[in-house]
Structure formats: structure tokens, C-alpha cells
Symmetry: C2
Subunit: 326 residues, 2 copies
């Protein structure tokens, strides 16, 4: 039961080429290009709750992350619509339907299927983890791989969070869900916009920001070194004004390992714990849920589309209820 | 009132790189990439009609073409949902959320705003046509320009129509709406799939196909020469099995002109007339509606989002009713 739905672009830049435009012999001269905006598709259900949910995808993904799951079940878009939240799905600047960029790029058809299988913790290619919350039919894996989309311009957390901030300015107070790489721009959005009323971060993977002078040590892993990033204390403290919950799934190694796909997440979980501690030390309200510690097993990197995604949504709903955000 | 909604990828290819995949030191070796599929978002309204409508966008566009208009009104997605058609919105292969391509490309941030203003017949930059069915506020023009998205791989009507054919195989009999450049892949889709039960083409701009040996002369214009393309007689005759209606808007020049943006469409309209004649000569059921000739004035290249888009939708509904497709 949808009361209203639609889409729009918001934020972004305009790049102008000097010169005089010639209508009948056009070159770049005197022309402009609009780019670096985000694209949002929104739906308002009947009897809507007052705070919408804005969902921001991760790397190599689009808003499709939140739609139908790879095995054809309902994703968080429909689940939270059924729970009466207005839902805004974002394609971030330079991705998907927000593809126009003011900065160019080259797209190579990089074969990453097997790397993604490992890094998104479906298993260790070609074997699934025994307890994995992912349907093992070939059709599901095919759909999963086909959710990948390339960047159409350089990845820039500043550009993304500027457009996200413009979105929150347009729609007013709302809850922000982020996935993976979206975590970093998510924190920056909450710094830039007072309309971000809570953050639910699913497996944030980059952009862990700390106050300058309080940075923890970088963390080496089999997938490279994860370094914290510095922001001003004043900006960091803006993150202490809203409740934050962070979720991580299963099959994280307890100790350093040579398994690249898993070790990548060991350090992210460790860094996220330090981040939560720093937020709370500065008077904030952050919480980290490592799902296996509350008995929820087998989750991949895509918690919101895993086989138990209704259970994950239930946990999120409970958090939103506790914080009186629903 | 939506009964069901969701999204999926369909069609496409898998490209394999020879070698052995190394989980912990991954390179391209032994990996694959899934690409060249299309992405579809579908909604089924309450009390649905039996034939869904599939909407395929044009050049530089995505499924957003059919969603909210640049000035914030409902587009053909919502209008035809309200008329109880299930609606499938497509991002074609190598565009938008179907961005993964098996062939690489370079994206330059080409400044085309002013060229688009002319070529999409909003007016002659910087002046709107006097009668234009386009809201003249700067915010609307900003949204219009931000609907542009780049190709993420080479444009290939064969790749697009293959994926579209796979879509029609998956969903069954349906009506196909195309816009602009989508016209060409649209004809090819109807040749490839017997599930295309009708075609409604809004300002088809390329891919005018004729039986080999029956090609009309190429048509020079101020925007370049438009050449017809040859297909086998057997393939062409497949297009005679389904009703086809083609719409063109206003501000076409009657005679050749140096105005590039308008002259581009003079030859397309002329070629479309020859195409309709050829279809009908071969026993088909094609009709061309040049809107000014039935008293509908001021339409741009984007008929489905113009200020009078409900009037355009009414005409389409009447066509579908006449052909007993609703």
C-alpha cells in the first residue's frame, strides 16, 4: 500500500567550459555538464512513521542492494515499507542512475567474481562457508554477481556526503542506513547534516574517522593496511549527538590469518570497536553488534539480503524502538 | 496500491580470464565477470491487467525517464500503474544499475547541456519554444539535465535486444514502450521474442530497419546523415505480427533547415513514415502519430514527461484498448 512514490536528483555540481556555444556546430565551447548529484527513489507507505529511512549502498553496488535479494526474497526496501517507514533508496554520485560525473574515468571490465565471493564472505572460493546465510543455487550467485556496478567517476566520500547532506536538507529529519563503503560517507553526512537522526551501519568498511590527535594505530591485514582518518574534534563530536548501531556478520577470524577475504574484515571489526569506544568516550551513543555474539550465525557481508534478513531487520526495528525513532 | 514489487537482472554474459584463481593473492587469473545484463524494477498493482508494460529508455538516460518528471509530476510509471498495468522499468545493459559491461570504455565528462536543450527540442538555446510543454523554472531544467547518465560500455543494440528478449522470456507476453534510441533495440527485441505483443515507440531516433533490398535512401540533415539498416525479410516480417504505434512531438521543421537540433528530427520523422509504410505494405499494423496533426502542440522529445503527459498517456491507452491489449 504505497501512498506516493517518485524519484529525483539532488546535490551535485555544474562544470562549465569557457567559450560561446554554437547551436548549429556544437563543440564543448560554452556548454555545461550537470554531475556529481545523487539519485533517490522514494516510497511513502500508508500510515507512514514520521522519520523516513535513507539507504546508502556500498562499493560496486547500487540501490539494488536494498531491493529484492539475490534469491528473490524481499529486501530491506520492502521490509521497512511494510513496517510503515517511508524509504529513500540512493544511487550515490558517480554510480548507477546518478552516473553523470564532472570528472572522467576509465572502466575496465575487471573480473572480480571470485574475489567478491571471498571478500563478501560467502565462503572461500569455490566453497561456501558451512553455515552461510546465502542460498547456494547457481541462479542466486548469478543474480548476486549481476548486482555489481562500476564507478563512473572517481570515488569521493566528500562528493557523496555533500549530495547526501543535500538529500537530508530536502527531505528533513531521517534515519540513515549505510552498507560497507557507504559507512564512511555516512559518518560525514551526519557531520554535515543535523537532519541525520540515527545511523544504522551494516559492516562499515572504510572511512573510520577519529579526532585529530586521537588516531589509533593503523591495522595491517592480509588484505592491506586499514588506516583511521582524522577529523576535527568539533566534527567528531557531531557524531555523538545521534544514536549509532553497527552490525557485523559471521566468519570473522579471531586471529590474523592469511585468508585474505576474511582477514580484511578482522581489522575492520577491530577498528569499528575502537571507533565505538571513541564515540562513547566523547559522550556519544554508539553500539556494535557482532551478530555471532548474540547467537546469529552465518551472515555474509550483505546482512540486509541474507537468508535471515528478517531477523536482522527485527533487531534493527528493536533498536529504533528503543531510541524512540519509530 | 501495489501488490508486489522487486528487481532483478536478466540476460547478459560471463567473461572468463584464463588461469588459476589465487584466493589470497588475487589477480585477474582464473576470475570471471558478469556483465551485459539488464536491470529491471517491476511493480504489480492491485487488480492487474494481464499484459504488463515494459519501458525502455533512450540514449543518455535510464529508467528514470519514466519516473517522476523533471518538474515533479508523475511519469508514465505511475500513470500506467494507476491504470492497472504491471510496469517493468529497464536500465539497459551498460547503463545505470545494469552498469557492469564485459567490454571497457572511457567516460569523459562531456558538456552536452546546451546540445541536449536543442536536440531534445526544448527550444533553441537559450530560448524555449513558445509553445513548449516543458516547465521553464530553473529547478526543472536542473532536474532534466541530471537525468543524464553515461554508457559504461560500448552501445550495442544487439546486446540490448538480447537482454530484452531474455526479459520477455522471463515475464511472458507484454507490451513494449520505447523512447528515442531505445526504438532500434525495441524492433530487434520484437524480432527475437514472440512475447512482445505490441510496441509503442516514442520518437524513435535510430535503428530504422528495412528488408534487405528495400532500403530507402539515406537522409542527410544538419545533424548528420540518417541511414536505414538492413535485416532479412524473414526478420522484418516478424514485426508485422504485432500492432505498432509511433509518436512524434512538435517543432519539427517542414523543410530542411540549418537548425541542427530540429533538423535531426525532420529526417527521423521522414524515415519513420517510410518504415510504417514498409511494415503495412508487408501486411503489418503500424501507425504514426505526429501529434501536431491531431492538434497536440508543444511536445519535446520527452513526450512521456512533458506537461501534457496525461494527454499522451490517454492517447496510448486508447490505442491499447483498440487493439484489445488492456
Amino acid at each position: 500500500m504505497i501512498q506516493e512514490q517518485g524519484s529525483f536528483a539532488v546535490g551535485g555540481a555544474i562544470s562549465y567550459t569557457p567559450g560561446t556555444y554554437s547551436n548549429n556546430a556544437p563543440t564543448s565551447a560554452g556548454q555545461s555538464i550537470h554531475g556529481d548529484h545523487l539519485y533517490a527513489f522514494y516510497q511513502v507507505p500508508q500510515a507512514p512513521k514520521s522519520l523516513p529511512i535513507v539507504m546508502l549502498h556500498g562499493a560496486y553496488q547500487s540501490a539494488r542492494s536494498w531491493e529484492t535479494t539475490a534469491d528473490g526474497r524481499e529486501g530491506f526496501q520492502n521490509i521497512f515499507l511494510r513496517r510503515h517507514f517511508p524509504v529513500y533508496l540512493v544511487d550515490q554520485p558517480r554510480r548507477g542512475r546518478a552516473g553523470n560525473s564532472t570528472v572522467g574515468t576509465t572502466i575496465e571490465p575487471t573480473p572480480y567474481d571470485q574475489l567478491f565471493f571471498d571478500q563478501f564472505r560467502l565462503g572461500i572460493w569455490p566453497n561456501y562457508f558451512d553455515n552461510v546465510q546465502f542460498d547456494r543455487t547457481p541462479e542466486t550467485l548469478d543474480q548476486f554477481f549481476r548486482s555489481v556496478v562500476p564507478n563512473t567517476g572517481p570515488y569521493d566520500a566528500g562528493v557523496i556526503s555533500d549530495a547526501m547532506s543535500a538529500l537530508f536538507a530536502k527531505i528533513g529529519p531521517a534515519i540513515l542506513f549505510t552498507h560497507s563503503q557507504g559507512g564512511g560517507p555516512g559518518w560525514l553526512t551526519a557531520i554535515k547534516s543535523p537532519n541525520v537522526k540515527a545511523i544504522v551501519a551494516f559492516e562499515p568498511g572504510s572511512g573510520f574517522i577519529f579526532p585529530a590527535g586521537e588516531l589509533p594505530a593503523a591495522m595491517p591485514s592480509a588484505a592491506g593496511t586499514l588506516s583511521p582518518e582524522a577529523v576535527s574534534l568539533a566534527d567528531f563530536e557531531k557524531l555523538t549527538r545521534v544514536p549509532v548501531i553497527i552490525y557485523y556478520g559471521d566468519n570473522f577470524p579471531a586471529e590474523p590469518t592469511t585468508e585474505r577475504g576474511q582477514d580484511n574484515w578482522r581489522v575492520r571489526l577491530a577498528m569499528a570497536r575502537l571507533w565505538v569506544d571513541a564515540i562513547n568516550k566523547h559522550g556519544g551513543d554508539a553500539r556494535l553488534v557482532h551478530l555471532p555474539q548474540i547467537g546469529i550465525r552465518g551472515n555474509t557481508h550483505f546482512l540486509m539480503s541474507d537468508l535471515n534478513n528478517v531477523q536482522i531487520a527485527d533487531h534493527v526495528s528493536q533498536f529504533l524502538a528503543e531510541k524512540k525513532l519509530d
